[in-house]
Symmetry: C2
Subunit: 253 residues, 2 copies
């Protein structure tokens, strides 16, 4: 195989240099930068290259250019630099295990809030989605990754846009990963199990029982993880034990 070391453009080098200038405090929030031509001279590049990197910085919300006035360091520059780093870490270099673990962390809680906050109308829409999935399942061999709509909508109904958007990108990454291919080979029984989970989850939401809904979601995702990685549960034993205790308690009542 050829190594093909990606040659870095001048503009990307410039972006990194400018980010560093802001991080070190040389360029302060709200500060007016020199004109494009002056900066091009001091960075030893042409004005076009300078502009290319400025446009990238602008798109990330780090700089702000206004015709006739000049270029300024955005008020949210530092925040958006961190957002940019976060974006880089999101850029498709997460393992499937980590993606699933992230789902395990956020989805049960999102389900909890969705059960508390969603309207009756929204619950009905979830039932529609589910019935549609069942139909598809009967006709053709349905993929696990195709029932993601159900999860996406629950997350959205939580009203927490940060995490529901995060979940959206995570499910998207799972869809185009080996995870999706893997799911084509799983047993029919396992697939049916998934549908049952969704149904009982919806029923818990209809009863407006947020804790129950959350736990069903937890088990639902957890079982998916153990299918992929059976050794994962070593970390989770305590958590599951705790849940079982709670279930036993409730039965006593």
């Amino acid at each position: 195989m050829i190594p093909t070391v990606k040659k870095v453009n001048l503009s990307t080098q410039l972006v990194e240099a400018m980010v560093k200038l802001i991080e070190t405090g040389d360029w302060k929030i709200g500060m007016k930068l020199p004109s494009e031509v002056d900066m091009a001279v001091s960075f030893h590049v042409s004005r076009n290259i300078m502009r290319e990197s400025l446009k990238v910085m602008e798109k990330f919300g780090i700089l702000d250019s206004q015709a006739g006035k000049g270029t300024f360091v955005s008020d949210t520059a530092v925040i958006n630099i961190h957002n940019m780093h976060f974006f880089e870490s999101l850029k498709s270099n997460s393992s499937i295990e980590m993606l699933l673990e992230t789902r395990l962390i956020i989805e049960p809680e999102l389900t909890y809030y969705a059960t508390l906050r969603c309207t009756d109308e929204e619950i009905r829409s979830l039932r529609d989605i589910l019935q549609n999935d069942v139909k598809k399942h009967e006709i053709l061999n349905f993929f696990h990754t195709d029932d993601f709509d159900f999860h996406v909508y629950i997350a959205r109904y939580s009203r927490n846009t940060i995490l529901s958007n995060l979940l959206f990108t995570i499910l998207d990454q799972l869809k185009s990963s080996d995870y999706a291919k893997f799911n084509n080979y799983v047993d029919v029984d396992v697939k049916n199990e998934s549908f049952v989970d969704h149904l009982t989850l919806l029923e818990a939401m209809e009863k407006r029982d947020p804790l129950l809904a959350r736990d069903i979601m937890y088990d639902h995702i957890f079982s998916r993880i153990t299918i992929i990685n059976s050794s994962y549960d070593t970390d989770m034993i305590l958590s599951r034990k705790r849940k079982e205790e709670r279930m036993a308690e409730e039965k006593e009542k």
Copy 2:
């Protein structure tokens, strides 16, 4: 006040147009695009403008340009378009309530995993941070938002880079929001409370008790939320009740 409607650049219009082309499927994954000159002609812009938008698309991992070969639609184009949308939603338009709620969802779980996975060395480093904070607290009037380091490191020790990076940007947004200013006016007793929380949390981690550590972190963040928004707990009553039940149980043993 002046409305100052931000005039959209040609390059940003181009970016949006190209994103749409990929979303509609007109530009497919891996596809080779026409040359820069040809595209510039068909989009009715100059080459430099074309290049500016291509550079942005490249930075977001949607397109991939290689000298001599051409420009291609990245394999991860669709994923990164969703990442880009997520990025836009992160760009400092989240309410303080939502930021804190997100902390409440992810931090307890991250603490749980950190307690399971971090090394003894890392726990010692947490104690160092804490002792440093205590010293600062004694000398000068210490801000709540200055003890974020403790939270950041715990999140990092969870080994879940997706959520620890997310927390990093969230804390950063809180730091530069009204939340930080608000914290300057809180009572000294409340600030001391925060330190005690951190100490008991660290002790739980040293005992390698993930569930306890998680619950302490939950209460710690929850109390911060109620200071800001005392009506928030209406949603949370169930969750807290459940926790109290568990605590009562353990005392019986």
